[in-house]
Amino acid sequence: MSSPVSTAPAAAPVAAPAAVPHPARDAWRMFLRSRAALAGTLLLACIVAVALFGPMVYDADPFAIVAAPQTAPGDPDAWLGTDQLGRDVLAGLVYGGRASLAVGVVAAVLSALIGLTAGALAGYYGGGVDEALTRVMEFFQVLPALLFAMVLVTLFSPSLTTISLAIGITSWTATARLTRAEFMRLRDLDFVRAERAIGAGNARIIWRVILPNALPPLVVSGTMAIGSAILFEAGLSFLGLGDPNRMSWGLMIGSARPYLLTCWWAVVFPGLAIFASVLSISLIGDGLNDALNPKLRER
């Protein structure tokens, strides 16, 4: 019961002209304020830095035999030990990061492109277009993704390209359904009508008007998709369908799997690397979700 009335006008003046509120800047501030998201960003930055620059610092061939097989960690020739063939685990981690992350990003971008296009067209045009595209989506949805990817990879010899393609082709339906729902929600809103009333065509409305408004949930799901693609690649490699000529974390786990009991370090370290990457990406995704969702944004 003090005097809120007298202080209110002074306390709430117009926003200082210097700090113009801006959606993107607001979201960025929210993102930085979340400790989990910040930790995820730092962790991912470290992993990416190791994958990009590690091979220059730690110049070693991941396929070369450097010490006796199953050397325990702590050996001066192989700090993290060697696997069942005597290959350096640390070299594998450093070099394998590139393949794993590349597959993750390429596959996620690919699935985002397919999913966005299909979802946007289905949601915007509705009717027959929607009907047809939804059937295609359902086809890919009921297809067991891992099995389908395995078939694709075995048909076209396992390489990073085919693996990325296989993951992308089997994982776009979630993005497509999300995009479709967003487009259906947005297509009849007033500002879209207003845009039509100034003579904008369909392509312009889809890509320049609706898509930017639908972006927040799609950014989040795209980020998460990188994590799932990394896991997917690890799964394929674990089953022996990885690219045998390129070291990747999945390949390391897959090849050392039978020796888990005697040579745990050859499996656990790449496993930790995958875990850390996916965790960091999930944290970033969560942070983006909170930052881009205006309802969760505290003022």
Binding site: A194, G199, A200, P212
Partner: protein
């Protein structure tokens, strides 16, 4: 407002149908009217009588799968817009006919700056460069009375008030100097004080640019203030048309009389005694209930036997004043009668 010169916008016999699973429903039943350059035409009527659909039909922006124009023409400067291809129609929209919507709060794209949205129309239709569009956008914002347009141009819609947003919408609509401006209840969502400002602005811009203004409203106060001529719509038809003064002072159609009788009075007797607000009994019939006959007959105090048989055509009441009512033909309602306060009111 010379009625002898050919009209700028000539809508003739426009019929719009919605095909649904319940069958075809007529939304517009032969709507005709003309607008001349520099003139303001008001379209009045309750919600659901076809005002907004008329404007969307002119722009060809009505929802297309169910909606279909089955007859009529919309001529802009003699050219029938209904015959144009969609790309050709896109070049007309926002360029020669522009539209302002009812909800300024939601009619601007929330993720685009005001300047970019304004510039869009200019770049689309007039092929301006980014810099030219920006300069012209600042000019336009100033013309619609937005202070400090150089700073405001980079703001996002959520940083502006409702009145400001509607000013921006008007600026967007007027960007390419359209020949016809359709304003669909432009002030309904705004405060009364802001309403007057927006009307002043529209009048001023119209006087400066010579734009023909089609103002859709259900506010009779706005009509008397803005309109040169009025058409009253009911059940997808024009039921009365004429010069504003004639229609407001000597309404001929029972529906128009009802609308005018419903204006609350703030002065004199009413202020002290506070009689109940007059109303027109009943509701606007849904498009499924129209059937044959006059759409207003269920609510009309003068309804008689011929009203159920067929919908009346527009009959002359006086010079440039016509109304569609069987009673006019039969002479049971004096053609020029002041709005009776208790006539159709409950």
């Amino acid at each position: 407002m010379s009625t002898s010169s050919p009209p700028l916008l000539d809508v003739a016999g426009l019929r719009l149908e919605f095909r649904t699973s319940r069958g075809a429903a007529s939304v517009l039943n032969g709507v005709s009217f003309q607008v001349h350059a520099g003139e303001t035409l008001c379209i009045v009527g309750e919600s659901g009588c076809g005002k907004s659909m008329t404007s969307l039909a002119i722009m060809r922006l009505f929802p297309a799968p169910p909606g279909r124009i089955t007859a009529g023409s919309v001529r802009l400067d003699g050219e029938d817009l209904l015959q144009l291809s969609e790309p050709a129609m896109r070049r007309i929209r926002g360029n020669r006919i522009a539209m302002i919507f009812q909800e300024p709060m939601t009619s601007l794209n929330p993720v685009m700056t005001v300047g970019r949205q304004l510039g869009e129309s200019l770049r689309l239709h007039l092929a301006m460069s980014r810099a030219e569009a920006r300069a012209r956008s600042i000019e336009l914002l100033r013309a619609v009375g937005i202070p400090a347009p150089e700073a405001r141009i980079d703001e996002y819609p959520h940083q502006m008030s409702g009145g400001m947003k509607q000013r921006v919408m008007i600026a967007v609509a007027l960007a390419c100097r359209p020949a016809v401006l359709i304003a669909d209840e432009p002030t309904t969502a705004l405060d009364v004080t802001v309403q007057a400002q927006i009307f002043d602005l529209l009048r001023e811009l119209q006087a400066r640019e010579g734009t023909a203004l089609v103002l859709i409203t259900h506010d009779m106060g706005a009509v008397s203030e803005m309109a040169d001529r009025v058409i009253v719509m009911y059940g997808g038809r024009v039921v009365e048309e004429g010069r504003t003064r004639d229609v407001l002072e000597r309404p001929a159609h029972p529906y128009t009389r009802g609308l005018i009788a419903c204006l609350p009075e703030l002065e004199g007797e009413a202020r002290r005694t506070r009689p109940p607000l007059p109303e027109i009994p009943g509701m606007v019939p849904s498009i499924w209930e129209l059937g044959t006959g006059c759409a207003f007959r269920a609510r009309c105090p003068h309804a008689a036997e011929p009203c159920a048989r067929a919908a009346p055509d527009l009959l002359p009441v006086a010079d440039h004043h016509r109304a569609a009512c069987w009673a006019l033909e039969a002479g049971t309602v004096p053609a020029a009668m002041p709005a009776p306060a208790q006539g159709v009111a409950a």
